[in-house]
Amino acid sequence: MKKTLLIFALVAGMLIAYVPQRTRTQAATTANPVLILYDSTNTQYGKLGFMYAIMLSNLLGHFQLKADLVPVETYTSGQINAHQATFYLGALYDNPLPVSFLSDAAQTTKPMVWFKYNFWKLTWDQTYNFPATHGFTFLSLRGLNGTPSASTPSPGFFDTITYKNKAMMKYYAYDAATNTVKADPDFGLVQITDATKATATVSAKNSGTQEVAPYVVRSGNFWYFADLPLSFIGPRDRYLALCDLLHDILGINHAEQHRAMVRLEDVAATVDPNAMTRLTNFLKSKNIKFSIAAIPFYRDPLGRYNSGVPMEVHLAQATDLLNSLKYAKSRGGSVLMHGYTHQYNNVPNLHTAVSADDFEFWYATGNRPVAEDSFAWAADRLSAGIAELQGSGYEADVFEAPHYQASPKAYAAINGLFQNTYQRVVYYTAETPNLDPNITNHDFSGGMFFPYVISSDYYGQRVLPENLGNIEYDICNIDPTSCFNYTWQDLLTNAQYGLVVRDGFGSFFFHPFWVEQDLSFLNAYNDFVNLVNGITQLGYTWVGMRDLILGVTKLSPNSGSKSGGTNVTIEGTGFEAGATVMFGNASATNVVVVSSAKITCRTPAGAPGDVDVKVTNTDGRTAMLPAGYKYK
């Protein structure tokens, strides 16, 4: 009897030990983030999938969603259904896929998105019965229509995606000297077998053969993209279709709304006040708020632009800069910090070692972090810049990385010191990336622009968008490093494409030096005016960067009865639909977000005395007006 009891207890104990383990496993994934599965087999492109996973996770930051980034090879049964949506990034041809993943992908009723490669493993395996249940199947892989050569540099491929009546041309470049192609032409050709179940929501055209094929196919909760719209992205690229379709995929719709922003770039001690005044006056005449990317500490250690004499000017001594900022601020301008010096040290870091020319937080010459790279090193520089701006009476709460590039450690420091960034961003597959392409399984970097606000990116940054680019002029005969044109018409076309994203911005920047007197032959001022007017005519509404930053400035009235019930108007910036209001520790009632600058609400009851007033947006950001309301 004792032995029987012992056996029972042992078996029961083993069962108990087994069951809770399964429960714990499920509990660990019930936080319900989004699942991003990526290929990671060790090859020359082994980390490319991780790079795309990072990029996709950034876009989810627009929806206040967190993502679990998981190598698909390690998938365990049930992970798909433990997440609210799953994306599989098929970046590596014929990468091994676990059958548990395939089985779950075929059966899930949650949003499931498959990109590019390896779709055949799901649709050609009769185990999963995919064509019958989903109404479409994989046919074949297509690439270039022929082998490129000097005589036929562009043989064509499925290179044109049409979305919302905009033809989006995929990037393609052929270098005859090295016989190398820069492009991502591979395309998963699929066939819809049951039109009642599957629909081609977006199509693609082969510019060589004129064939048209599905680019995005939807079958209920299941989506298939024929390529990876995170490779070779651009402002007129099918990347914008992904940015827009994510609303439908995730079931989080944002109202059609198009806002525009303009930023005056690289404004440092050497700024021409006349150029700044001219631009400021025009924007003020249009009642357009604008931003100024200011460089607090100007350095020219080699005297590159000062007849060989080294030059350094701190903000406090930069008279022209201070006057320009003051003039702009009183006319709708808002200052952000654009690096500390916007150059690295006393040697050129790609160009001249002069502020605004060179990289600061990335060793561009060697395409790697600088030798001193660390969180502390970057934080020290940033803190010095903040001190200079604040010392001259300017806020230092928004940052833009010089040349849009910093190391992962520097980005971490930026995120620690600034609540907002206003930029494009470069991401890496390691904290100390080795980008040498000759190394097997080397790291990747990927630059991203965003067509909308990202609440939290891979580094944790809140990113305000710049997505149209900037006007450039080919003046090779004057400056051998300024050798390409990017016209105001190019940017305006980009803005037209930006409209395909339902809440897409039209945000660009402009260098004031282009309108200086000795470059007047460029007519850059007219181009700037034409661009601003053109963007306005497209239907964009101009906003300033501070309109996107949550802030509380004023309450009317700012006092009332301790019994509550007083109707109050709150003024500020960055209010979003669904925002909540607290008076001290009590919630206001009847909260109505009238606009991004105005909330009306009714006070709760409170004890006599001052209370803080706090507004919280749905993404968790808060802004507080200390002692903003007095109970009597």
Partner: protein, 73 residues
């Protein structure tokens, strides 16, 4: 004899129970079974690609134009 065999039989039953569970599509400990479906032909095997993720926009700009003779304040 029956009582002697009870323990291993129960253990064996338990083992069968565990390994036949619906969630266990793995062999061994957390080793996924991979699909064996042959792939379609890979296009452009002979083309030399330079793959680069991310932004291709022309943004490499400088903060100054080198106008040779220039006096800054």
């Amino acid at each position: 004899m029956t009582r002697f065999l009870a323990f291993p039989v129960l253990l064996l039953s338990l083992l069968v129970l565990i390994t036949s569970g619906p969630s266990l599509v793995t062999h061994g400990k957390d080793q996924p079974v991979f699909s064996t479906i042959p792939p379609p032909a890979k296009p452009d095997k002979d083309v030399k690609f330079n793959s680069a993720p991310g932004d291709t926009s022309p943004l490499m700009c400088k903060g100054h134009v080198d106008k040779k003779v220039r006096m800054y304040r």
